[in-house]
Amino acid sequence: MSRFRLGRAAPKYFALARASARRAWAERAVLAGRVVFLGVILFIFSRVWDTVLARGEVTVSGAGRAELIWYLAVTEICVLSVPLTFLAIEADVRSGDIASRLVRPVSYVGAMLAEALGETSLRLLVLGPAGALFAIGLAGGWPADPRGLAFAVPLGVLASLLAVLSTAAIGLSAFWIVDTSPVYWIWQKLAFVLGGLLLPLELYPDWLRAIARFSPFPAMVWGPGRMAFGYAPAAALETALELLVWSALAAAGLAWLSRRARLRLTVNGG
């Protein structure tokens, strides 16, 4: 798409994103449920760290209980802010509605991404402050050096972008497989384990950490999370670059999948 066409289409995508954010805001019970879930997970792991650290064990250099709780708050906010776009795409493919959506004057995948990003923005705006409040309450205050958290905000936004692109790609797999949920489960759990959702990668054995570094998940989860351990501009820049590279790769993969899916739809019908 040329820059001119993209410029003309931008207000449409923005309108879609805004409508999606409004829709998500209207479903306050769901939003509240996510906030409570975030609080519960932070509470459980504050207990885990209480129990572990009570034995005087050393965990991550420079990180105590408060930093570990803040780490979890940041990683959970990144993960919980991403909507399940793959389910919406799967529903469109299954029902055949996608055929009617393809004739609209916006790209189908572009529209889904805009809607997902709109909802993600709203969730970040709600879960971010809520997670910070939970973390302050459970950790008893800010991390020892809270300046790093300033980097966590833009990194969290970039991480969410990568996650949205990935979940949209999972949704497009509905053109080839009946149920996309199992693919999502695996992607999600890989993000949990290789990304270090609950435990920082510093606690992992060397071999697993080495494997994880070849995947996009550490940049997506551990990267923003480790900003809770202190002021590290170089690490923040490194994570930002990794996220941009992985996002570009994910976008390219999504475009390729989208072309293949459209071809399949043309051949088999909607």
Binding site: G33, F37, V40, T51, I177, V183, Q188, L190, P205
Partner: protein, 264 residues
Amino acid sequence: MTRFSGTLRFARALVAMNLRGSLALRGAFLLQAAFMVLNNLAFFSIWWLLFERFPEIGGWRLHDVLTLFGVVATGYGCSVVFAGGVGHLARAISEGDLDSALVQPKPVLLHVVAARTNASGWGDIATGVGMLWIAGALAPVQLGFTALAVASSGCVFTASGVIVQSLAFWVDGMETLARQIWEFTLTFSLYPRPLFSGELSFLLYTIVPAGFVGFLPAELVRAPSALLAAAALGSAIGWTLLALAVFRFGLRRYASGNRIGART
């Protein structure tokens, strides 16, 4: 007695029909089950990583968490396979979708909960049984206690789901909250008991009965005794009766959706 055996036959027929339905799409069934196994193993690996670094958490070791996970996964799997409709109960109530079940001669609740199944639950069962086997809980001398623990966990989980979902009889828009409370029950039941003490214990044996879904049955497998077996059996019966009573009481307030539909 004849009525009870008739209901039992009906339940068995529903389960068999659901199983046949799941197996009709064999590829999707196997994919869902296999991916659920991988999903569970990935989740459990977080515990493995934690215990690699810290061998003991509140007196619990990896073996204990393996047992807990095995019991809960198997119980949860049985619940979603054999009573997969529980998760949709609140919506069915609020949308007046119980009409077709009300005109049937068999119990309404059985119709609604056993009419659906979740193929991924077989993956949970496979994971749970595998973990219990590794934990040594399937040894012949212990098999009876383990079976009781799993049955108790599954019964309480199903019953607690029926209770929270039945609140839709009294409160509108309960679907999300009901699902959330139910999910919290599962979430809490997968963590070692020593993490939750004091006032939280009360919560975990009442509103969010993770204590009866995870801690108590797992304790029965870890240290089998007649007292724990009686407690597990009692909790399963108690929660089931409570669920039946709540649903029955709520059903009196049920308003039809006036929908035209048929059940085959």
